[in-house]
Protein backbone atom coordinates (compact mmCIF):
# COMPACT_ATOMS: atom_id res chain seq x y z
CA UNK A 1 0.00 0.00 0.00
CA UNK A 2 1.10 3.57 -0.63
CA UNK A 3 3.07 5.11 2.20
CA UNK A 4 1.13 8.36 1.93
CA UNK A 5 -2.18 6.53 2.38
CA UNK A 6 -0.90 4.84 5.51
CA UNK A 7 0.44 8.13 6.76
CA UNK A 8 -3.04 9.62 6.42
CA UNK A 9 -4.52 6.73 8.38
CA UNK A 10 -1.99 7.33 11.11
CA UNK A 11 -2.62 11.09 11.17
CA UNK A 12 -6.36 10.53 11.34
CA UNK A 13 -5.83 8.92 14.73
CA UNK A 14 -3.22 11.43 15.91
CA UNK A 15 -0.30 9.17 15.07
CA UNK A 16 2.91 9.66 13.12
CA UNK A 17 4.74 7.82 10.39
CA UNK A 18 8.09 6.83 11.80
CA UNK A 19 11.27 5.09 10.78
CA UNK A 20 10.34 1.96 12.71
CA UNK A 21 6.78 1.79 11.43
CA UNK A 22 8.07 2.07 7.88
CA UNK A 23 10.54 -0.72 8.53
CA UNK A 24 7.94 -3.09 9.98
CA UNK A 25 5.51 -2.37 7.13
CA UNK A 26 8.22 -2.89 4.54
CA UNK A 27 9.23 -6.19 6.10
CA UNK A 28 5.67 -7.48 6.25
CA UNK A 29 5.20 -6.34 2.67
CA UNK A 30 8.10 -8.32 1.28
CA UNK A 31 7.58 -11.43 3.43
CA UNK A 32 5.16 -14.06 2.34
CA UNK A 33 4.76 -15.67 5.74
CA UNK A 34 2.90 -14.36 8.77
CA UNK A 35 5.63 -13.23 11.17
CA UNK A 36 5.81 -13.28 14.94
CA UNK A 37 7.02 -10.25 16.89
CA UNK A 38 10.35 -11.87 17.64
CA UNK A 39 10.78 -12.87 13.99
CA UNK A 40 10.15 -9.28 12.93
CA UNK A 41 12.65 -8.15 15.54
CA UNK A 42 15.33 -10.62 14.45
CA UNK A 43 14.83 -9.98 10.75
CA UNK A 44 15.08 -6.21 11.19
CA UNK A 45 18.25 -6.62 13.23
CA UNK A 46 19.73 -8.65 10.40
CA UNK A 47 18.70 -5.86 8.05
CA UNK A 48 20.55 -3.45 10.36
CA UNK A 49 17.40 -1.61 11.35
CA UNK A 50 17.75 -0.47 14.94
CA UNK A 51 14.53 -1.38 16.74
CA UNK A 52 13.55 -2.67 20.12
CA UNK A 53 11.33 -5.71 20.58
CA UNK A 54 8.96 -3.55 22.62
CA UNK A 55 8.58 -1.25 19.66
CA UNK A 56 7.76 -4.20 17.43
CA UNK A 57 4.93 -5.14 19.75
CA UNK A 58 3.67 -1.57 19.89
CA UNK A 59 3.94 -1.22 16.12
CA UNK A 60 1.98 -4.35 15.20
CA UNK A 61 -0.71 -3.32 17.66
CA UNK A 62 -1.03 0.08 16.05
CA UNK A 63 -1.13 -1.46 12.58
CA UNK A 64 -3.76 -3.88 13.79
CA UNK A 65 -5.87 -1.03 15.17
CA UNK A 66 -5.63 0.73 11.82
CA UNK A 67 -6.79 -2.45 10.13
CA UNK A 68 -3.58 -2.76 8.12
CA UNK A 69 -2.46 -5.95 9.77
CA UNK A 70 -4.21 -9.12 10.92
CA UNK A 71 -3.19 -10.94 14.08
CA UNK A 72 -3.16 -14.73 13.84
CA UNK A 73 -3.10 -17.16 16.73
CA UNK A 74 -2.08 -20.43 15.24
CA UNK A 75 -2.65 -23.81 16.80
CA UNK A 76 -0.72 -24.11 20.08
CA UNK A 77 2.16 -21.93 18.99
CA UNK A 78 2.09 -19.82 22.12
CA UNK A 79 2.67 -16.61 20.22
CA UNK A 80 0.83 -14.41 17.75
CA UNK A 81 1.75 -13.83 14.13
CA UNK A 82 1.03 -10.83 11.97
CA UNK A 83 0.38 -10.45 8.27
CA UNK A 84 -0.50 -7.50 6.07
CA UNK A 85 -4.13 -7.23 5.12
CA UNK A 86 -3.58 -5.22 1.91
CA UNK A 87 -7.10 -5.71 0.63
CA UNK A 88 -6.76 -9.47 0.85
CA UNK A 89 -9.84 -11.52 1.57
CA UNK A 90 -10.42 -13.14 4.92
CA UNK A 91 -8.69 -16.52 4.81
CA UNK A 92 -7.17 -19.26 6.95
CA UNK A 93 -3.87 -21.12 7.24
CA UNK A 94 -2.26 -24.50 7.53
CA UNK A 95 1.06 -24.95 9.31
CA UNK A 96 3.51 -27.80 8.84
CA UNK A 97 4.18 -29.52 12.16
CA UNK A 98 7.73 -30.31 11.10
CA UNK A 99 9.19 -27.30 9.32
CA UNK A 100 6.75 -24.66 10.53
CA UNK A 101 5.95 -23.39 7.05
CA UNK A 102 2.60 -21.64 6.87
CA UNK A 103 0.48 -21.77 3.75
CA UNK A 104 -2.59 -19.67 3.04
CA UNK A 105 -5.87 -21.42 2.45
CA UNK A 106 -7.71 -19.20 0.05
CA UNK A 107 -11.12 -20.08 1.33
CA UNK A 108 -13.39 -19.69 4.28
CA UNK A 109 -16.05 -22.35 4.39
CA UNK A 110 -17.90 -20.96 7.39
CA UNK A 111 -20.64 -18.69 6.15
CA UNK A 112 -23.38 -21.30 6.23
CA UNK A 113 -21.97 -22.76 9.42
CA UNK A 114 -22.09 -19.35 11.08
CA UNK A 115 -25.77 -18.99 10.25
CA UNK A 116 -26.45 -22.48 11.57
CA UNK A 117 -24.64 -21.70 14.81
CA UNK A 118 -26.61 -18.48 15.28
CA UNK A 119 -29.85 -20.40 14.85
CA UNK A 120 -28.86 -23.15 17.23
CA UNK A 121 -27.20 -21.14 20.00
CA UNK A 122 -28.96 -17.77 19.74
CA UNK A 123 -25.50 -16.17 19.85
CA UNK A 124 -24.68 -13.32 17.51
CA UNK A 125 -21.50 -14.69 15.99
CA UNK A 126 -18.68 -12.20 15.67
CA UNK A 127 -15.31 -13.61 14.81
CA UNK A 128 -13.84 -17.06 14.37
CA UNK A 129 -10.51 -18.80 14.12
CA UNK A 130 -9.87 -21.78 11.91
CA UNK A 131 -6.36 -23.11 11.58
CA UNK A 132 -5.01 -26.42 10.42
CA UNK A 133 -1.79 -28.26 11.09
CA UNK A 134 -0.35 -31.17 9.16
CA UNK A 135 2.62 -32.30 7.14
CA UNK A 136 3.68 -30.35 4.09
CA UNK A 137 4.70 -32.09 0.84
CA UNK A 138 8.42 -31.77 1.64
CA UNK A 139 8.14 -33.12 5.18
CA UNK A 140 5.88 -36.08 4.58
Amino acid sequence: MLESTIRKGLRATGRRMTRTRKAVLALLECTHQPLSASEIFTQLQEDHVAIDLVTVYRTVNVLKELGLVVQLDLFQEGQSRYELKEGRKHHHHIRCQICGRIVDLLLCPLKKITRLIEERTQFVVGDHTLEFTGFCPQCQ
Copy 2:
Protein backbone atom coordinates in the same frame (compact mmCIF):
# COMPACT_ATOMS: atom_id res chain seq x y z
CA MET B 1 -15.64 -42.40 34.16
CA LEU B 2 -14.94 -45.09 36.75
CA GLU B 3 -12.05 -44.27 39.06
CA SER B 4 -10.69 -47.82 38.78
CA THR B 5 -10.53 -47.54 34.99
CA ILE B 6 -8.57 -44.32 35.23
CA ARG B 7 -6.32 -45.87 37.85
CA LYS B 8 -5.53 -48.67 35.42
CA GLY B 9 -4.68 -46.17 32.72
CA LEU B 10 -2.34 -44.42 35.10
CA ARG B 11 -0.72 -47.67 36.23
CA ALA B 12 -0.21 -48.74 32.63
CA THR B 13 2.15 -45.78 32.22
CA GLY B 14 3.81 -46.20 35.61
CA ARG B 15 1.73 -43.50 37.26
CA ARG B 16 -0.33 -43.38 40.43
CA MET B 17 -3.80 -42.28 41.38
CA THR B 18 -3.42 -39.47 43.88
CA ARG B 19 -5.54 -37.17 45.97
CA THR B 20 -4.88 -34.24 43.65
CA ARG B 21 -5.58 -36.15 40.45
CA LYS B 22 -8.88 -37.34 41.88
CA ALA B 23 -9.76 -33.77 42.83
CA VAL B 24 -9.00 -32.36 39.36
CA LEU B 25 -10.92 -35.16 37.65
CA ALA B 26 -13.89 -34.71 39.96
CA LEU B 27 -13.95 -30.97 39.33
CA LEU B 28 -13.78 -31.37 35.56
CA GLU B 29 -16.50 -33.99 35.80
CA CYS B 30 -18.98 -31.78 37.59
CA THR B 31 -18.19 -28.59 35.67
CA HIS B 32 -19.87 -27.95 32.38
CA GLN B 33 -17.37 -25.38 31.14
CA PRO B 34 -13.82 -25.94 29.92
CA LEU B 35 -11.62 -24.69 32.77
CA SER B 36 -8.24 -22.99 32.72
CA ALA B 37 -5.46 -24.09 35.06
CA SER B 38 -5.94 -21.06 37.28
CA GLU B 39 -9.68 -21.63 37.39
CA ILE B 40 -9.13 -25.23 38.46
CA PHE B 41 -6.69 -23.98 41.10
CA THR B 42 -9.07 -21.32 42.44
CA GLN B 43 -12.09 -23.61 42.45
CA LEU B 44 -10.24 -26.35 44.32
CA GLN B 45 -9.03 -23.82 46.87
CA GLU B 46 -12.64 -22.77 47.44
CA ASP B 47 -13.50 -26.43 47.86
CA HIS B 48 -10.72 -26.62 50.49
CA VAL B 49 -8.62 -29.00 48.43
CA ALA B 50 -4.96 -28.24 49.10
CA ILE B 51 -3.20 -28.12 45.74
CA ASP B 52 -0.48 -26.08 44.11
CA LEU B 53 -0.96 -24.36 40.76
CA VAL B 54 2.10 -26.24 39.51
CA THR B 55 0.38 -29.50 40.34
CA VAL B 56 -2.68 -28.41 38.40
CA TYR B 57 -0.53 -27.87 35.31
CA ARG B 58 1.20 -31.20 35.77
CA THR B 59 -2.11 -32.96 36.35
CA VAL B 60 -3.89 -31.64 33.25
CA ASN B 61 -0.85 -32.57 31.18
CA VAL B 62 -0.91 -36.12 32.49
CA LEU B 63 -4.64 -36.40 31.87
CA LYS B 64 -4.11 -35.04 28.39
CA GLU B 65 -1.41 -37.63 27.69
CA LEU B 66 -3.77 -40.35 28.85
CA GLY B 67 -6.40 -39.01 26.46
CA LEU B 68 -8.82 -38.26 29.28
CA VAL B 69 -8.76 -34.52 28.79
CA VAL B 70 -8.73 -32.22 25.77
CA GLN B 71 -6.75 -29.00 25.71
CA LEU B 72 -8.47 -26.02 24.09
CA ASP B 73 -6.84 -22.82 22.94
CA LEU B 74 -9.64 -20.39 22.46
CA PHE B 75 -9.49 -17.25 20.43
CA GLN B 76 -6.97 -14.77 21.88
CA GLU B 77 -7.49 -15.84 25.46
CA GLY B 78 -3.80 -16.26 26.17
CA GLN B 79 -4.36 -19.41 28.22
CA SER B 80 -5.43 -22.98 27.64
CA ARG B 81 -8.59 -24.58 28.87
CA TYR B 82 -9.24 -28.21 29.65
CA GLU B 83 -12.34 -30.35 29.42
CA LEU B 84 -13.03 -34.02 30.04
CA LYS B 85 -13.23 -36.14 26.95
CA GLU B 86 -15.41 -38.90 28.45
CA GLY B 87 -16.27 -40.49 25.16
CA ARG B 88 -17.57 -37.21 23.78
CA LYS B 89 -17.30 -36.54 20.07
CA HIS B 90 -14.84 -34.04 18.65
CA HIS B 91 -16.56 -30.66 18.73
CA HIS B 92 -15.96 -26.91 18.81
CA HIS B 93 -16.95 -23.94 20.96
CA ILE B 94 -18.30 -20.44 20.93
CA ARG B 95 -17.35 -17.93 23.61
CA CYS B 96 -19.26 -14.81 24.61
CA GLN B 97 -17.06 -11.74 24.28
CA ILE B 98 -18.84 -10.09 27.19
CA CYS B 99 -19.42 -12.67 29.91
CA GLY B 100 -16.92 -15.29 28.79
CA ARG B 101 -19.43 -18.12 28.81
CA ILE B 102 -18.41 -21.01 26.57
CA VAL B 103 -20.97 -23.12 24.78
CA ASP B 104 -20.33 -26.37 22.97
CA LEU B 105 -21.09 -26.59 19.28
CA LEU B 106 -22.08 -30.15 18.71
CA LEU B 107 -20.81 -30.29 15.20
CA CYS B 108 -17.66 -30.28 13.16
CA PRO B 109 -18.23 -29.18 9.58
CA LEU B 110 -14.71 -29.76 8.38
CA LYS B 111 -14.52 -33.26 6.94
CA LYS B 112 -15.12 -32.23 3.35
CA ILE B 113 -13.05 -29.10 3.82
CA THR B 114 -10.15 -31.18 5.08
CA ARG B 115 -10.22 -33.33 1.98
CA LEU B 116 -10.37 -30.23 -0.22
CA ILE B 117 -7.39 -28.71 1.57
CA GLU B 118 -5.37 -31.89 1.16
CA GLU B 119 -6.08 -31.87 -2.58
CA ARG B 120 -5.21 -28.23 -3.00
CA THR B 121 -2.15 -27.96 -0.79
CA GLN B 122 -0.73 -31.49 -0.90
CA PHE B 123 -0.47 -31.31 2.88
CA VAL B 124 -1.50 -34.28 4.97
CA VAL B 125 -3.88 -32.55 7.34
CA GLY B 126 -3.55 -33.53 10.97
CA ASP B 127 -5.39 -31.41 13.47
CA HIS B 128 -7.43 -28.23 13.35
CA THR B 129 -8.84 -25.56 15.60
CA LEU B 130 -12.14 -23.87 15.02
CA GLU B 131 -13.49 -21.51 17.62
CA PHE B 132 -16.09 -18.78 17.46
CA THR B 133 -16.69 -15.67 19.53
CA GLY B 134 -19.80 -13.56 19.66
CA PHE B 135 -22.49 -12.28 21.96
CA CYS B 136 -24.60 -14.72 23.93
CA PRO B 137 -28.38 -14.30 24.26
CA GLN B 138 -28.06 -12.66 27.69
CA CYS B 139 -25.36 -10.19 26.67
CA GLN B 140 -26.78 -8.98 23.37
